[in-house]
């Protein structure tokens, strides 16, 4: 039987062990393991010692009081919302506009059904799906870059195993999206993914404990190649495109 590590004990304590019975048996047979598990349990219990600052019963009303003017401002600025803001019912102008819009939608819908579908619809749909997928990928990559850029220094090396596993997940997807965006005629987007890939590759193969100097080199790479900035710009661009497609 594989000896249990702290990671297994953490999963066990959170009820997420794949084989809790096996863990329980090992705990029963080893005092040292029980002590380690107990120590972890105590630490986790200690975290609960910090009370959350209280909020009174009127807190929801206070939040609304601050939020309502912002929502009203958004409405005035004509920001596109995903649902209509109901105007005052006594406003006759609103009713006229709504009726006209309904007629236009109905006519448009009818024409759309009668008109033959343009042959470009399938590639457009494909493009939309590709952009949405790459946008999600860039968003995850941006988080990873930010995570590495903000990892605190430690003189005895930094444990980047989580980021490493994360980079591994992203790396395979990045290769695929790089090829797909190039084939879809989006060289600039493919270029950003191109630049991202060597970074993901190196991080995916980084050691468990990264020496402080190597962490500094990774950060320097993010900064000097403006990687985070480029990924963020591409991600924002795709978000805007998604809304117009």
């Amino acid at each position: 039987m594989k000896p249990l590590e702290d990671d297994d004990l953490i999963l066990y304590l959170y009820g997420e062990s794949e084989d809790p019975e096996a863990v329980r048996l090992q705990l029963e047979s080893s005092a040292e393991l029980r002590a380690r598990c107990e120590s972890l349990r105590r630490v986790l219990a200690t975290v609960d010692a910090v009370p959350v600052p209280g909020r009174g019963e009127s807190y929801g009303a206070e939040v609304w009081a601050r939020l309502a003017p912002r929502l009203a401002r958004e409405g005035r600025e004509g920001r596109r919302l995903s649902f209509p803001v109901r105007p005052r019912l006594q406003d006759p102008g609103w009713a006229r506009w709504a009726a006209a819009a309904l007629v236009l939608i109905a006519v448009g819908f009818g024409l759309g059904r009668l008109w033959p579908r343009p042959a470009t619809l399938a590639p457009q749909a494909r493009d939309r799906i590709l952009l949405a997928t790459v946008a999600a990928h860039l968003d995850r990559s941006e988080r990873l870059l930010a995570e590495v850029a903000h990892t605190p220094d430690a003189s005895d090396g930094v444990d980047l195993s989580a980021e490493r596993a994360w980079a591994r997940d992203l790396l395979a997807a990045n290769r695929l999206y790089r090829q797909s965006t190039r084939q879809a005629g989006r060289p600039r987007l493919a270029g950003v993914l191109d630049e991202l890939e060597p970074f993901l590759l190196d991080l995916a193969h980084a050691p468990d404990e990264l020496p402080a100097a190597e962490l500094a080199a990774l950060r320097e790479r993010i900064a000097s190649q403006a990687l985070l900035f480029k990924v963020r710009v591409a991600s924002d661009h795709l978000e805007n495109r998604k809304q117009t497609l």
Binding site: I10, T46, W64, S82, F83, R143, H150, A165, W166
Partner: protein
């Protein structure tokens, strides 16, 4: 007849501001607790709550009625909190993350003092986590979300999600283990 939450959501989606107000009022406290645990700062948590409701308002039309409104809002708040914490970190000195040095685990005069010391130590230890580690830990430890749910919510692979939690627990342990032992000894004595 009492209104169900989904009926309130439908009204809000149809543009009823009062219905949206009802949703804000019933979910604010819960969102604040979540936001405070992720950000560790009251003012930032307030901003997260505002931002989360603003985003929810903008995308209410895309809410899938098969889902729970609270779960959907929770997800929006987690993402807003992560984003706000990261943006603020970008504007701070690189030393940010640990607001103050971890307090000494030397014995205090009494249990009250120990309580305060522990509280300070926990805050300091949580501040030493990266935004992703802290968020993953908060979702697992305080919010009781499964690791699969956390990975889905944060856009992480299964392995990366687990590693974020493992790392968080190990970092917390480095700071908090001496306190955890002292608490137990004091409880035995008292």
């Amino acid at each position: 007849m009492e209104r169900t939450e989904i009926s309130v959501v439908r009204l809000a989606r149809a543009g009823d501001a009062e219905a949206f107000r009802e949703l804000v009022e019933s979910h604010s406290s819960k969102l604040f607790r979540l936001a405070w645990r992720i950000t560790g700062d009251e003012a930032t948590a307030e901003d997260v709550v505002q931002e989360a409701f603003l985003r929810a308002y903008r995308s209410l039309g895309r809410f899938d009625e098969r889902a729970q409104f609270g779960t959907w809002l929770h997800r929006i708040a987690v993402n807003a909190a992560l984003e706000i914490v990261r943006k603020r970190q970008r504007h701070l000195a690189p030393s940010h993350g640990v607001e103050e040095p971890p307090p000494s685990p030397d014995p205090g005069p009494d249990r009250v003092a120990l309580g305060l010391e522990v509280e300070r130590a926990v805050r300091s230890a949580l501040a030493g986590l990266s935004p992703m580690e802290r968020t993953a830990f908060v979702l697992r430890h305080f919010e009781g979300r499964s690791i699969a749910e956390i990975c889905d919510q944060l856009g992480l692979g299964a392995s990366a999600g687990k590693q974020a939690i493992f790392r968080a627990v190990k970092k917390l342990r480095r700071v908090l283990e001496p306190f955890a032992e002292r608490i137990e000894k004091q409880e035995v004595k008292l």
